[in-house]
């Protein structure tokens, strides 16, 4: 099959799935709806595998692409509906369609008792379609189409159980917060278009000059800054991260797909896509690195205190996304893509695992009411366990390789700094602690499950995706084994990922001596052992001596309250921005519209009325008279003209 046909099937399969399920949205048949949706996602996955395979082996091409039609053409602004798979989008499209298919499959069991499964699967397919537009679009505008499209699906899915006012509000919050980012994205598109005369990725990259823009207000810096604002919205970074924890109101597989594995990484993907441009804006890179590191640490600390299983995972996601931005900010775009991929595996796994737990606990999400679930949920426990080892960065699990690469680059890159590395390590220590805490409270220790609840393991359609994701969480990191480690391992495995991304992802120009392999191994040892110690401490806290956490918390009550309440950021936004805006709007309406403009108008009309008694009839509502006035006016005018 030709590339065009494959691209068409790849994109249209989820759209057709959406239409199929959307048109029979009233149906209660979760199995039919879920099967159709899963098959649609699976077809997309197969098409992407076939397309990506053309980048390999004999006769490999750097990219495969297809153009469908000219979307918009005005003046010099031409946008084609064209799609491309190159070495960067290949990783993303495989992750999205692959993990996406697994999550679709998982959803069949999870949503089997829901009232409107067809609607759910329709939205899920629509999301996949938009995500594919975002990933594969050959230009910034198509990416933006997908970007807003996934935001819309996120809105619909977070508020899926809309009868609950809070869930509907969470959806709205997500959409609006994302819109702030999107406004920045739009400005970024404009800056780029008027700078390069195109919005096509390849052409932009071809026209990037080799001279870094060292100012704060130069066009390249501004373009990158605007685009990064867009990324902070979609990828939940400071200051726009507040929507993601609330987004957990949606069904759990949605949290796995949209709010962990795929959509929220779009900001990282966009920056990597434009990496040669961002490299020319070192000031923006610094901003990105600082925001990323700050987000990584802040969200990890909040994760230490939360009781809702999904909230812990949500803050963990925000924190891990911070790592990816930290990587981008130090110019290690390859490491960012690497962590994006491994994170998609283990975080999707953990979210689906939490879904399995919630399913088993009949909707309970509070980890204080769990404990010792490993007895009832052996598969969920085993797979979650692998996810846990992966996220806390223990070798040879996936998270170790990608996180370590980020920390190493933060330390050695010309854009890096020891403080950025330190922040990364602190984040890693916190991650190991809260993840162990989550493991311990959920699966280990004594059971605190209420007697009315009888946990049970999930059906195979739910455990199979867990198992596949668990395998990926183990082996996923092996494509990027660092050279320092590869050199001492048997068989000397190379860094395949670095090779794959060579040429499409540029490295910042290094200066000074080449950092030594010994240093790399030493730093690796430091971060791994600190994380391991932290995990042991958490185990001690929550399994061996379960009374300790409360004692410890009582000693630092103030600090604990601050962190537990998420640093009062939401409260701050409401008190300082949202409520004042609403009050100001009410005030404006009352004073400007009702009092000032209208009263002025009345005053003017009173003056006019006072000018002659004949004008009294002005307000009697008699239309014949108005018609007469108009006629009279026209007659007088005619007379004036013709006099």
């Amino acid at each position: 099959m030709s590339n065009t046909v494959l691209f068409a099937i790849l994109l249209l399969a989820p759209l057709i799935g959406f239409l199929f399920n959307g048109l029979r949205w009233k149906s209660h048949n979760a199995y039919l709806a879920g099967t159709v949706a899963t098959v649609a996602a699976g077809i997309s996955f197969l098409c992407s595998v076939v397309l990506v395979s053309k980048l390999f082996g004999e006769g490999a091409v750097p990219a495969v692409s297809a153009k469908f039609y000219e979307w918009m053409a005005i003046g010099g602004f031409n946008v084609t509906a064209g799609f491309v798979i190159d070495h960067i989008s290949a990783i993303m499209v495989l992750v999205v369609t692959g993990v996406g298919t697994l999550i679709h499959l998982f959803s069949i069991g999870y949503m089997s008792h829901d009232e409107r499964p067809s609607k759910y699967f329709a939205y899920l397919n629509l999301f996949l379609f938009n995500m594919l537009l975002l990933i594969l679009g050959e230009n910034l505008l198509l990416m933006f189409v997908g970007w807003e499209g996934v935001g819309l699906c996120s809105y619909l899915l977070i508020g899926f159980w809309f009868s609950d006012s809070e869930k509907a509000a969470a959806g709205m919050k997500a959409f609006i917060t994302n819109r702030i980012g999107d406004a920045g994205f739009l400005l970024g598109i404009f800056t780029i278009f008027f700078l390069f005369g195109t919005v096509n990725f390849q052409e932009i990259i071809g026209r990037v000059s080799g001279v870094p823009d060292l100012t704060w207000t130069g066009p390249v810096t501004l373009a990158c800054l605007f685009l990064f604002i867009g990324a902070t919205g979609k990828s939940a970074q400071i200051p726009l991260y507040v929507w993601l924890p609330d987004a957990m109101a949606g069904p759990t597989p949605v949290s796995a797909l949209i709010h962990a594995a795929t959509m929220v990484t779009a900001g990282v993907y966009m920056i990597c896509r434009l990496n040669p441009l961002f490299l020319m804006a070192p000031n923006v890179l610094n901003v990105i690195a600082i925001i990323g590191a700050a987000t990584a640490v802040m969200a990890a600390t909040i994760g230490l205190t939360q009781w809702d299983i999904k909230k812990v995972l949500a803050y963990s996601t925000v924190s891990q996304l911070g790592y990816m931005f930290l990587a981008c900010g130090v110019g290690a775009f390859g490491a960012a893509m690497f962590h994006l991929m491994t994170h998609a595996f283990f975080k999707a796994l953990m979210f689906l695992g939490s879904g399995s737990v919630i399913h088993a606990m009949e909707g309970e999400q509070d980890i204080r009411k769990m404990g010792h679930l490993k007895k009832y949920l052996p598969i969920t426990h085993a797979t979650f366990f692998i996810g846990w080892v992966a996220i806390i960065g223990m070798p040879p699990f996936a998270g170790f390789f990608s996180k370590d690469e980020i920390l190493w680059k933060a330390f050695t890159s010309p854009h890096g700094h020891i403080l950025l590395w330190l922040a990364g390590v602190i984040g890693a220590v916190c991650t190991a602690f809260y993840m162990t805490r989550l493991m311990a409270l959920t699966f280990w220790g004594k059971s605190r499950v209420p007697e009315s609840v009888h946990p049970h393991e999930s059906p195979p359609s739910m455990s199979i995706p867990l198992i596949i994701l668990a395998v990926l969480s183990v082996v996923g990191g092996w494509i990027g084994i660092p050279h320092a480690l590869g050199a001492i391992l048997p068989g000397h495995p190379g860094n395949w990922l670095e090779h794959w991304l060579h040429g499409v992802i540029l490295e910042p120009a290094a200066h000074g001596a080449h950092p030594s392999a010994t240093l790399e191994l030493a730093l690796m040892g430091v971060s791994v052992s600190l994380a391991a110690l932290s995990a042991l401490l958490a185990y001690n806290f929550y399994v061996t001596n379960p009374e300790r956490p409360a004692q410890f918390v009582s000693k630092i009550r103030g600090l604990y309250e601050l962190v537990y309440n998420k640093y009062f950021v939401d409260e701050f936004y409401f008190a300082r921005i949202i409520n004042p805006l609403i009050d100001a709007s009410k005030g404006m309406w009352a004073y400007i519209d009702v009092n000032f403009i209208d009263k002025t108008t009345y005053a003017v009309s009173d003056v006019v009325r006072g000018m002659g008694s004949a004008a009294k009839s002005f307000q009697n509502g008699n239309l014949q008279q108005y018609a007469m006035y108009i006629a009279l006016g026209v007659a007088v005018t005619m007379f004036l003209i013709l006099r």
Partner: protein, 527 residues
């Protein structure tokens, strides 16, 4: 004769409606007639040449030769879609009011057709006085529509509407007359034809207010700004909308507001190029204020219809900044946004009307949980909401994107300020959607004595064309833009020396000789 046919056919229909003997026949007859008019207007696709940059299908004859007033009708890529929008929205409005208008239906439908003639006429008239006549004529049926079939405060609303717009248009009439006299003094003949008025060089002094071009510019601008409406002369609009019956709102928002923005494009910018350039910042500023102010005030409205009305202020603010960006992107976006606003705000008013018919309330706080009671209605409402807040793949995105891009090219600070509207638009619409459709069921929704029925087949038929257009215009904007491109490019590139008919001789003597033999001698007599 096609343009005259399209313009005056509805007037004939209005008379026909008066002859219908039985009240029960009026609605079907009116609908069929409106569809006939729509079909006739579709014939434009066959004869209109999208590649021609100037006006075409010219119809011209003397009307008041003593004053150089002509009956001059022509169409270009800018008015093309506005005419079609008018002929499309009229049958939709008639079908949409099938059950909501229940008294004096004969008069109502006659008024709709008279209104249609006046709106189409103002988009096609290329003579200033002829335009003025159509422009003013539109007030009369709208006045009746709100005043007779409107809500409880209809008299107040109609008075406000009438006085505001009359005040504006009187200024414009004076300005037109002044222009005609200027033409007599400089061209040697009195004329109201835009063909000649465009050739006038009206003295302009930068920095001073009291010079002819600046004064004329503001006189025209005031008239059109009230119609658009721009901040701060917008306050008639929310009142008129709230009191107007649904079809009145649809036509008022869908088409009549565009007469204002179209007026800027047809009269203000090409007639007074220096003043427009010099004072562009005033309109960019007021446009941006309108976008933000309209959105913020819409946000806190307790009444759905008033919210939509204020959203019009915000949307039309976009149209204005696009026009005053005065580049290809901005103007194209504005022309597109005029159509978008017609489609999506028209659709919103129809939807609000449908729920009002069921519950007789538009109070947001009395709703909630409507999504469960009326799922199809909810789906349509959310689609239209997405179009209104310019989500990609809907029509709204293309217009808003182009406008913001044009504004960005013209002035970055204004573009950055205007971009906040992208966020605020989502805020006021989604907050309303959340309160009306989601959450627990409100008092009107769970009222057991009046269970809510989802949309009827008729209501679906009313919405279908608009929903199709929302996606069609969003996915294939080129299908629409290709008809306007040449005219807009001609306007943008030759703004200082704009001509309606490109291949016509540029000098006034010759053009007068070609088109207007009579006025020459008469002008001399006039002197």
């Amino acid at each position: 004769m096609l343009l005259s046919l399209i313009t005056f056919l509805p007037l004939v229909f209005a008379l026909l409606i008066c002859l219908v003997p039985k009240d029960s026949w009026i609605r079907p007859v009116a609908l069929v007639l409106a569809l006939v008019e729509f079909a006739v207007s579709l014939y434009l696709f066959k004869v209109f040449d999208p590649a021609a940059p100037g006006v075409q299908l010219i119809e011209r004859m003397a009307w008041v030769p003593e004053a150089g007033i002509t009956y001059f009708m022509a169409i270009d890529g800018i008015s093309f879609w506005l005419v079609l929008l008018t002929t499309l929205l009229t049958p939709i409005a008639i079908l949409g009011s099938w059950t909501s208008i229940d008294n004096r239906i004969k008069g109502f439908h006659a008024a709709v057709f008279v209104l249609q003639t006046s709106m189409i006429g103002s988009f096609l008239a290329m003579d200033a006085i002829l335009f003025y006549v159509f422009f003013e004529l539109s007030l009369v049926p709208m006045y009746f529509m709100v005043g007779i079939w409107g809500g409880t405060r209809r008299i107040y609303a109609t008075m406000k509407f009438f006085i505001y717009t009359m005040a504006g248009s009187l200024m414009m009439l004076l300005a037109i007359i002044y222009l005609m006299f200027t033409a007599r003094d400089t061209l040697g003949m009195m004329t109201a034809s835009l063909l000649d008025l465009y050739t006038l060089k009206i003295p302009f002094v930068a920095g001073s207010f009291l010079n002819p071009q600046t004064l004329l510019f503001f006189a025209f601008s005031l008239a059109f700004a009230i119609k658009v409406p721009m901040f701060p002369v917008h306050t008639w609009l929310p009142d008129a909308h709230v009191e107007a019956p649904t079809p009145g709102s649809v036509i008022l928002a869908g088409v009549m507001l565009k007469m204002g923005s179209y007026g800027f494009l047809r009269f203000v910018l090409p007639l007074f190029p220096e003043a427009a350039e010099y004072y562009a910042w005033v309109f960019l500023f007021l446009g941006v204020v309108g976008i933000i102010y309209g959105a913020l005030v819409a946000m806190i409205q307790p009444d759905i219809k008033k919210l939509v009305a204020y959203s019009s202020v915000s949307h039309m603010g976009y149209v204005m900044i696009g026009l005053f960006a005065m580049n290809m992107y901005g103007v194209t976006g504005s022309v597109y946004q005029m159509l978008n606003h017609g489609v999506s705000t028209g659709a919103l008013f129809l939807l609000v009307g449908m729920i009002y018919e069921r519950t007789h309330s538009r109070e947001i706080s009395k709703y909630g949980g409507l999504a469960k009671a009326m799922p199809i209605y909810t789906i349509l409402f959310i689609i239209v909401t997405m179009s209104s807040i310019a989500v990609p793949m809907t029509n709204g995105f293309i217009g808003e994107f182009m406008i913001l891009m044009g504004t960005f090219e013209a002035s970055r600070p204004f573009a950055i300020a205007a971009v906040t509207g992208v966020v605020l638009g989502a805020v006021y619409m989604l907050w309303m959607v959340k309160r009306v459709f989601f959450g627990p069921e409100g008092e009107l929704v769970k009222d057991e004595h009046h269970p809510l029925h989802d949309l009827s087949v008729r209501e679906l038929v009313v919405m279908a064309p608009l929903i199709v257009l929302i996606f069609w215009m969003g996915l294939f904007p080129n299908h629409f833009l290709n008809y306007s491109k040449a005219s807009i490019a001609n306007f943008v590139e030759n703004r200082d020396n704009y001509r309606l008919v490109l291949d016509a001789p540029a000098t006034s003597e010759k053009s007068a000789a070609t088109f207007d033999v009579k006025s020459d001698s008469v002008a001399k007599a006039g002197q």
